[in-house]
Symmetry: D2
Subunit: 326 residues, 4 copies
């Protein structure tokens, strides 16, 4: 598994900045966070948020990233500007909606310069909070047609939809896996696919391996955010810290479906002041450990047979013997 790609959330490296950069006034710069990220053993890639992380010219940033021994995995759109709070692709103001689409195209352009192969769209602003706030058919069509337009613009670059049921809006326009599969079908672009965020998937009341299998049936799994949570919100906890069994099944499902992308950790060590470098190293160690166990699952005929019979008792015994210490 030497050539596995491990990426992580760049903003995590602001965690404990006051301890790591005692001299620092205010927040660390993007270049400082890149330097710190590079100290995490085993980390190979970064994702960049567009436009927030493009604080220097692309060439300077690229050299810095190469310099510290990392590469850019993908770009992730973030529509943070106040005018997008009520919607980016579904903004009621056609002018603002157009800005959101054009901003995405600039992000795709930047991604090309960084050598990124994928643009991820987590459309956090696109949804509704109240009854009687939105024309549901209209905002659905606005969301789908915007995704189609940016996917067509991206051409050979992949564009991936990441879903999350709620937050910041009370209800997201793309809350779960089957909603995204409908949207991808309606958009009808070959370079469109889906990114699964483990904690978002649990939050959407889905078993992660079920979501992965549904994506594999009808679309392509383009990205993967590993983390964990308690299923009631987007906790952003360390991989397998709550649900090791569901994480193992998720990794096994993806492996069997031929996932080749990066293992990206979308965790929030900064939310509770954890050391982001050791946190990233722990995530890498945990996932490497579980990926090794997947080989034992592959080879276990009794497990395959138990699953065929939906015999959860037998599969529980077998997986316990494979997963747990004796």
């Amino acid at each position: 598994m030497s050539e596995l790609k491990f990426a992580t959330r760049l903003n995590s490296f602001a965690s404990g900045a006051w301890r790591y950069w005692p001299e620092l006034k205010g927040k660390p710069s993007v270049l400082q966070m890149i330097e710190r990220a590079a100290t995490a053993k085993g980390l190979t890639h970064l994702d960049l948020n567009y436009p927030q992380h493009i604080t220097d010219d692309v060439k300077t940033m690229r050299l810095k990233i190469e310099d510290v021994g990392l590469a850019v995995n993908g770009m992730q759109m973030r529509w943070d500007a106040p005018e997008f709070k009520i919607g980016a692709y579904t903004n009621p103001d056609a002018k603002v909606r157009r800005q959101a689409i054009e901003l995405t195209k600039r992000g795709i352009d930047a991604g090309r310069e960084f050598g990124a192969s994928i643009m991820t769209l987590w459309m956090g602003q696109d949804g509704f909070d109240y009854c009687f706030q939105a024309d549901y058919k209209k905002i659905w069509e606005d969301a789908v047609s915007a995704v189609r337009e940016v996917a067509e613009y991206a051409g050979d670059m992949d564009v991936s939809i990441e879903y999350k049921p709620n937050e910041p809006r009370a209800f997201a326009i793309f809350p779960n896996v089957t909603t995204c599969l409908l949207a991808v079908e309606e958009a009808g672009c070959p370079n469109l696919g889906i990114t699964l965020d483990f904690a978002h998937v649990l939050y959407a009341n889905e078993i992660p391996a079920y979501a992965a299998a549904m994506v594999a049936r009808r679309s392509r799994l383009l990205g993967l955010d590993l983390n964990d949570g308690w299923g009631k919100r987007d906790d952003g906890l360390m991989a397998a810290s709550v649900n090791p069994r569901a994480t193992l099944e998720f990794l096994w499902q993806m492996k069997r479906d031929g996932y080749k992308g990066a293992y990206y950790f979308d965790t929030f060590p900064d939310a509770s002041g954890l050391d982001p470098v050791r946190e990233a190293e722990t995530n890498i160690a945990t996932v490497t450990r579980l990926l090794k166990l997947c080989d034992q699952l592959d080879d276990n005929a009794a497990l395959h047979d138990a699953i065929r019979r939906q015999d959860a008792v037998t599969s529980q015994q077998i997986v316990n013997d494979i997963m747990l210490a004796r």
Copy 2:
């Protein structure tokens, strides 16, 4: 609105049986529950669970139902037999799966005899509880192909899928509206559609009017279960008892999409010993009241404009003035 069809859950009429039938030992018969249901003013129709409610020959039951001044709205499948606990259409045992399909066909036959125009499939047993229990692609395909087979058998009769995210299984194979829309598209039968249960929809983390609009875009809304709940489970409470605003928006969305079916109350007065006759009458009164308010929503240009602008403050003011007492 004189010709509105109001139907209700027959089993509710076992509530407080010990008070209503002091002589009665054990549970009331189906015929007794039909007699009691008929005492609810404004009730016009019943749904029958198949096979549970077919305790007498169809002719006897039909005459009794006509006799008390009611009619059969539709049939609802219930796979209660122990062999179906691990799955009906997704049962790992091909023989049991076949029984589940054939039982549905017998239910369709019975429905025709009762003059029912619709068979509702709430596939409660079809899902999974554990990681490593099921082959998700296989059970999805088993579910869809079974639905296709029964829809093709039904011919001119409508077949409707009702979803619920969890319970009795930890995860249902058809948990939310977009999952059902995918299933309907894959089954590809013109007589297939979707039934929305208000409390199930909230439980699935959807605003009910959003779910109704999504159904109208891609399928047909064939049935409607009105009730209410706290959004965390299938509470089966009286209509609008928790969410009057979401209920009003839901009724308005359906009305604008041309819903012509019955208003069926899937509530559980028996779960907490309420009087099922007065409970049904209260549901009818509440929905009649809210349907009248829908006309004022239709005519309010400022509301339409606020929704176009996603201006929730203005729509809140307008709907408060229409919905709340002064």
Copy 3:
């Protein structure tokens, strides 16, 4: 750990009755379920639901239970009769409330005859479904005074309150650990304590070890229901099937607080047609395995230090090394 007491839910042994007793018409008898339970290797005790399980005279049942090599761990009240649906200890009808209290006293009497040391009160019917349904202060005081009366009647026998946030009522009068601690304090009886059901605790949005620690601070942990779930309802799944880490922490907390009671499995293999004997054996094997790991946790100074520093990264690494296979 040879003298650990393992108990389980008797009704589970109706699962797959049609396969286990091919001749059987209808449901198995309590004595049949006792016989089947006894075939589960490692099982030592049973709990009996009062009055549902007392289908024969106590002497016959006791002899049968001894005969098959089991013992009675405790009694559990179930107020299933229709008159209790709107409340047992909080029933608005003083006569029915009195019946609920007297029924509990008869259950305590029966428990003594069975040699049970504990009566568990899961007050499932005591709560409310609707706004404007109950006088919250009145039903709280009715609940507490009834618990006090039965605890005083029990004398030297322990009485334990088991909480669950919702279901069957939309809201339970005793939904979580701190509510029970307040109730125990207000009741003021030395033989009162609390039973923790792992899936109920997760459902109540509590980390199980936190609930156990809170009980240990202010009351006594008298009973323990092991199972697992997805945190959104009472799934009744096999122990550690979803949350092995939280289960390990829970067992470790109880062990350090000196828990001496039985390990009771409150799981629902019958809900999905699993083999209840192998399911019980799997639960026993899983818990035995995890209890062994607790010794390694005790001895790990680095873990104790990480917890002192709230350093979740270090404790995650240490617990992964102890809990997971290499």
Copy 4:
């Protein structure tokens, strides 16, 4: 009801700043937000977050607030500094914990200068995210003893605990009403009480009127945050926008328990770019309207009788007739 106090969240008035202050670069100043807040008709008071809102000397701020015709209702602690991310009162570092306590005392001092009568403690940072992260007994005692120390310091000023089950930490040390009641009892200070935030209460799986009644039984309701939500997170929506019935019951319960404090709106118009002035005016109008309806509830003997009988059908009919338009 002329002398009702209506307060609101000051940070809401940054919403749509780019439209309201076209010249403005960056975020509006606290003084600018105070000016804008004062344009909301009917608003009488503000709460100030400590230390975030104290951007000028207290005298200047006081004069400005009086100048625009408002008054300070209370102070609210916010421990935003990075060193508090893993805990304020429960921080594992005794030095940082001491800073959190001393900061609160400075907030109390500032409150006195502003003529505030209450300091509200929402201890958002105090909790845990992971199993094996914290010694639950230790952090509970650290939380309670810190609350005791600041309450004793406050002397004649009220100190109020506001709970929220989750977020920012996965689990809060004070997640629900009964936890706060235990903490208040253990702290043992007469000037301690509880603040109920409607959306937090729903999020904690409590009916708001139940929480208010429990507070009235054992402590004092010192503060009230009105808003609404879908029960699955802290949505911060307009009052009664989702749950008008539960809001009406909540206001009625408080009124009967003699609540005399301010009606503070803790809503997030800024999260979705709504007009905060019209949003505040809408909240004031809605609550004024519902408070008027409470008088009709008081006078309705049939309602009191239905509640005594826990007859939810009758109370639903009566409340519909009082609350809904005809």
